[in-house]
């Protein structure tokens, strides 16, 4: 349940951005969440509902999640492959010399006001 901790960080950043732009009320927050970020979108939106409604500026504010695909790169054969399906082992050459290119994002993309 680190989603609650993450929600507190989102709230802090969103409030700062809103204040910096002179905004009183935020209607939606759009998140980019990578497939292998270990954040469960359903938990995140549940925690968001509970925590955001305690903030005047965020009451009723919706949390939208863009789920981004995870892609790994193989150093042995220089190919890219979907991480969730094949994990650490390259499906092309079976090498373990692979690393994650993207899919680890936990990022606030934008807010709607």
């Amino acid at each position: 349940m680190h989603e609650l901790g993450i929600v507190f960080y989102i709230i802090k950043d969103v409030k700062e951005a809103a204040e910096a732009n002179g905004v009183q009320k935020v209607s939606a927050v759009v998140m980019n969440i990578g497939e292998v970020s270990t954040v469960v979108p359903e938990y995140l939106t549940d925690c968001w509902r509970w925590a955001a409604d305690k903030e005047e500026m965020l009451r009723g504010c919706e949390l939208k999640v863009n789920l981004l695909p995870a892609v790994s790169y193989c150093e042995s054969c220089q190919c890219e492959y979907p991480t969730v399906q094949y994990g650490k082992t390259c499906p092309n050459c079976q090498s373990d010399r692979t690393y994650l290119l993207k899919g680890n994002e936990v990022e606030i993309k934008e807010i709607e006001v």
Partner: protein, 237 residues
């Protein structure tokens, strides 16, 4: 940081403010700042993580008993509730131990760690051990500002744990394999476990030990002692 873009829908104008910021950015910056402060003070902070019941507290009691005459040590126990661990450490070793309550949260972040450090006598210390909340998922996400992350994996948990919790094993470069006294009773392949860990983190140091009998604890304690000394000795560089 914020760019204004306007959606000119007449009936329902929605303004979009682009943020594009990692949720962990503030915590990571805070953790780096904390590490620099600790460096300046010559205090080594170890973040110890594991699942519940892997023997963190017992391992600490054994290890710190071997080090307490050579180093000035304090322990911060983080749990959701209770103070049993802090009391146990203090009674068994005499080392000052404080209990941090996370208020229901499953991990500590750099700010909570900083608050905890305010409760120990930092100028009088060489080593502070942070016993993080027992959990292999969430603490891996949050940099506490520690000099090093270590984790304990115990034999009954299985030799494939590194495959199931890849992030935890990739942020920890020191792994203790505890409860090796029960190896004959479990289908736990120590070599396979080592292989899985090194696959996640080729730089990982692995210490098989038994906190209950003391087997292997000295190697871990000696390593930690060397770490603290080199952290202190390079502090002004």
């Amino acid at each position: 940081m914020c760019i204004f873009a306007e959606n000119n829908h007449i009936m329902n104008p929605v303004k979009i403010i682009e943020i594009k910021k990692s949720v962990f950015a503030d915590n990571n910056a805070d953790a780096d700042a904390l590490r620099r402060e600790l460096k300046a003070r010559g205090v080594y902070l170890l973040n110890l993580m594991s699942s519940p019941g892997s023997g963190k507290t017992t391992t600490l009691i054994r290890t710190l008993s071997l080090l307490k005459d050579r180093l000035r040590i304090a322990v911060m126990e983080a749990d959701i509730d209770s103070d049993v661990d802090a009391v146990k450490i203090k009674e068994a070793t005499g080392i000052p131990s404080i209990q941090l309550h996370t208020g229901g949260m499953c991990h500590l972040d750099a700010e909570m760690t900083r608050q905890g450090l305010a409760g120990v006598d930092l100028p009088e210390l060489d080593l502070v051990v942070l016993e993080n909340v027992g959990n292999l998922v969430c603490p891996a996400e949050f940099d506490t500002g520690a000099v090093r992350n270590a984790m304990i994996l115990s034999v009954p948990e299985g030799d494939d744990k590194a495959l199931k919790y890849p992030l935890m094993f990739s942020v920890c470069d020191t792994v203790v394999i505890n409860k090796i006294d029960v190896l004959p009773y479990f289908d736990f392949d120590l070599e396979k476990c080592r292989e899985h860990i090194l696959r996640r983190n080729p730089k990982a140091r692995i210490f098989p030990l038994c906190a209950k009998t003391g087997e292997g604890v000295e190697a871990f304690a000696d390593w930690l002692y060397g770490e603290v000394l080199s952290w202190k000795n390079t502090q002004n560089r």
